[in-house]
Structure formats: C-alpha cells, structure tokens
C-alpha cells in the first residue's frame, strides 16, 4: 500500500449518533481527497446482524453511510475489517460497496514499514469470558445458522447478547478489558514486525516497548464519539513516507 494510508476504527455507528455519523462522513470526504487508501479496522458499526439485512432493508441512517462508503471506495481503495461488534460484516457488503474485506490479522505493507494490523480484541486475553464468546461467534457453522434466521430473530438475539455483555462488563476490572502485555509481546515475536496498529480498547496512544530487546511501537486508534463526549473524541492514524501520526483526536494544545 504505497502513499498516504489512513487507518480508523471504532466509530460505532448506529441510529442514535447523528453527530458522530456526520463527523465520519466528513472524514470519508477528506480521505477521498487526501489519502491514497483507507483502512477501517473494525467496529465501524455498533451492531451488525448480516450483510443481507443491511443491503436489503437499510434504515435511512445506514443507507446514507453505505452510500458515503461506496463513494469513497470509488475514489480510493477502501478496506473493511471486522470488529467485535460488527464481526458478521462480510464479503457481500464489501463487494456491494466496491471495498475489500480485511482478514482478522493482516500484515500491511506501507511507506512507513510493515504493520501488523487487527481490530485488537484478540489481545484482550485476560477477559476469559469474552474470549469464550469470541470463539463461539466466530465459528463458521454458528454464523451460518444465525444468518439463516429471520432478521427479527437475529435482532432480538443481538439485543439480548448486548445486554448480557453490558451487564457483565460493569463488574469487570478495567485492566482485563485492555490488551494483555503477554499477548502483545507474543504477536510482535511471532510476526517479527516492529509496528502494530489496533483499535478496540478505546485507549488511543502510541506505546514504545521492548520485545526480546527489540524496539517495537504499538499505535492504538481512538474510538469516536461526537454525540456525548465533550470535547468530541475521534481520529485516525495517517501513515506517510516514514511517518505515522495520530490525527483528529483532541487537537493540541487543549485549554485547561
């Protein structure tokens, strides 16, 4: 992927975040003009119950975003990855948008070097109950079974799962919902790469670390919230020739 590559994740679009959606649409316009490729690595949508549902019966807000994504994909290559919320996003949607579907973990060749890219939930290995859930919902036959249900039943199951998850997360300690240092180190080790980008944790940062004496850098993408957060949150990683820069999220300096 030569040139300027922009990476974003965790926009969590849904019917009730109009300001976030507007900011994201502006971002897509900007990316179309200023970037050579755009990679959205997971949780673009807060929920996803199947490509067929989105393509055949999209509510107006979703139809607007899909149209915007289609426009962007007509200008620059657009890559879509799955997150822990929209893990059912699939090839049918990607094809209809003119976009490409990303594998869960991928090695991205950029002008700033090779980057290990994923959504990031696979590194939260301290959260055993989530990892168990993740294994189940990523099982192909279970996904096929779910997608064969009527849309109404799928939505009901998704809502139930979401409520269960929110109730459970209230009792989880903060640190188990972050990435586990061992999981990060092991990913750097087995990939042999020195750069990693992921989202998921909503803890945007650049972390420098040593893995077996090797200097490694891990960028965490921000989540987006223009509806409830003051100042608004959101942003992306801009990759250029030898440069990686987190943009958009809380411009600096911030007033006291």
């Amino acid at each position: 992927m030569p040139g300027t590559v922009w990476l974003a994740s965790d926009i969590h679009l849904g019917p009730q975040v109009p300001a976030t959606q507007a900011a994201f649409h502006d971002f897509l316009d900007m990316a179309g003009r200023q970037a050579d490729a755009l990679v959205l690595c997971g949780d673009i949508f807060d929920a996803w119950v199947g490509d067929d549902a989105a393509l055949e019966a999209a509510p107006p807000w979703l139809a607007a975003t899909l149209e915007k994504l289609r426009q962007t994909a007509s200008l620059i290559p657009l890559w879509l990855g799955r997150g822990n919320r929209d893990f059912l996003l699939g090839g049918q949607l990607a094809r209809s948008l003119g976009a490409h579907l990303l594998p869960d973990t991928v090695r991205l060749h950029t002008d700033a070097g090779d980057i290990l890219l994923s959504h990031g939930d696979e590194y939260c290995t301290a959260d055993a109950s989530y990892q168990r859930f993740r294994r189940i919902v990523r099982t192909p036959w279970i996904q096929r079974l779910f997608l064969s249900l009527s849309l109404k039943r799928r939505l009901r199951i998704a809502q139930y799962a979401r409520q269960r998850s929110m109730a459970a997360n209230r009792h989880k300690q903060q640190d188990i919902m972050d990435v586990a240092p061992q999981a990060i180190a092991s990913a750097f080790r087995s990939s042999g790469l020195g750069l990693m980008v992921h989202g998921h944790t909503h803890r945007p940062a650049r972390h420098e670390l040593l893995v077996d004496g090797r200097a490694c850098t891990r960028y965490v993408l921000p989540d987006w919230d223009y509806d409830h957060s003051i100042p608004p949150r959101g942003g992306w990683l801009a990759i250029g020739h030898g440069t990686m820069e987190l943009r958009g999220a809380s411009p600096q300096p911030q007033p006291q």
Binding site: M30, P204, L246, R247, A249, P251, P253, P255
Partner: protein, 169 residues
C-alpha cells in the same frame, strides 16, 4: 537591536511581526524559517481559535485541507521560555516530539503549557517567538466567531488567512 530573525505575517485581519528566539529554540526557529521561506504558510489559515487561550494556524488551507509537512521536530520546550501572552509555540499531537508546521499564538499567560518534566504529560509546548508588532491583530483574531466545521471545532466562521509570511531583512 536584537539580531534575532523576524517574520512578518500578513493576514486578512492585518499584519504582525514576530521575533524568533534563535538562541533559545534553534531547531524550532530553523524549522519555522524553512516553512516560511518555502511559502508553505502562504494561504494557510488560523483554523482553531479559542478566545482567552490561543489561536492556532499554519497547517490548513481555507477549505480545511491539511497541507503535507516535513518530518516532525524535537520538542525544545525545555528552553526556559514561557507560554506567555503573545508568544508563539509549536502545536503538536499528543506525542511531545510531533510538531511540524502548525504553531499557535498564546493570547493569555498559559502556564500549564510550560515544560515541567520530560514525560508525555510534562513536556509542554515549545515557545520560539513573540509577536512584537500587531498585537492588536491578534486581539481581533482571538475574538472572531467560531463554530464546528466538519471534523473540527473552534473554526473561525469567516476564514482568518495568512496571506503571506516573509522573513524581514
């Protein structure tokens, strides 16, 4: 008469002259002069204006398109200069050593932006110059009406444009 270099910013709100503290902030001043001499700042805007705090510019064109920059520079905030009213400092991301072209003019004494420690929270913002003529222009700019523009907040409703930046001989 100081031998410090001076840069004149001609804006659609009037002109200002900036003295650059070459001795205290050599890398930052060299960086600012390079962008000035390349004409990089011509046509850029003050895109982020927060009254009683600072006015930030030098990175976006009037249509809010961000201009491509050179590599980031080292943060020289540990040079003893303070973010006092009418001083210029480099803007950056949350990474202390990420300043490129964007700068801001303090419109108040912003002590909390000063260097306190070489940590990500303590680095502060590198002061490298001061407005020595045309502070009234700064006062006019800081009071303009602002709003949200797409992805950005605190954007002047009427564009504040740096029409030309020149090194004063």
């Amino acid at each position: 008469m100081s031998t410090n270099p001076h840069v004149k910013l001609q804006t659609n709100f009037g002109d200002m002259v900036i003295e650059l503290y070459q001795e205290k902030a050599p890398k930052t001043v060299a960086n600012f002069l390079k962008y000035t001499q390349e004409g990089f700042y011509d046509g850029t805007i003050f895109h982020r204006v927060i009254n009683n705090f600072m006015i930030q510019g030098g990175g976006f064109e009037a249509d809010m398109k961000q201009k491509p920059t050179h590599d980031p520079i080292e943060n020289e905030a540990n040079n003893g200069l303070k973010n006092d009213k009418y001083t210029l400092a480099m803007a950056r991301t949350s990474d202390p050593h990420s300043a490129t072209a964007q700068f801001f003019i303090n419109v108040a004494d912003n002590d909390f932006l000063n260097f306190t420690a070489p940590t990500s929270n303590g680095w502060g913002y590198a002061v490298f110059g001061k407005v020595i003529e045309g502070t009234d222009v700064v006062d006019k700019i800081k009071a303009v009406k602002t709003g949200n523009k797409g992805f950005h907040q605190d954007v002047p409703v009427e564009a504040v444009v740096i029409e030309k930046a020149t090194v004063v001989e």
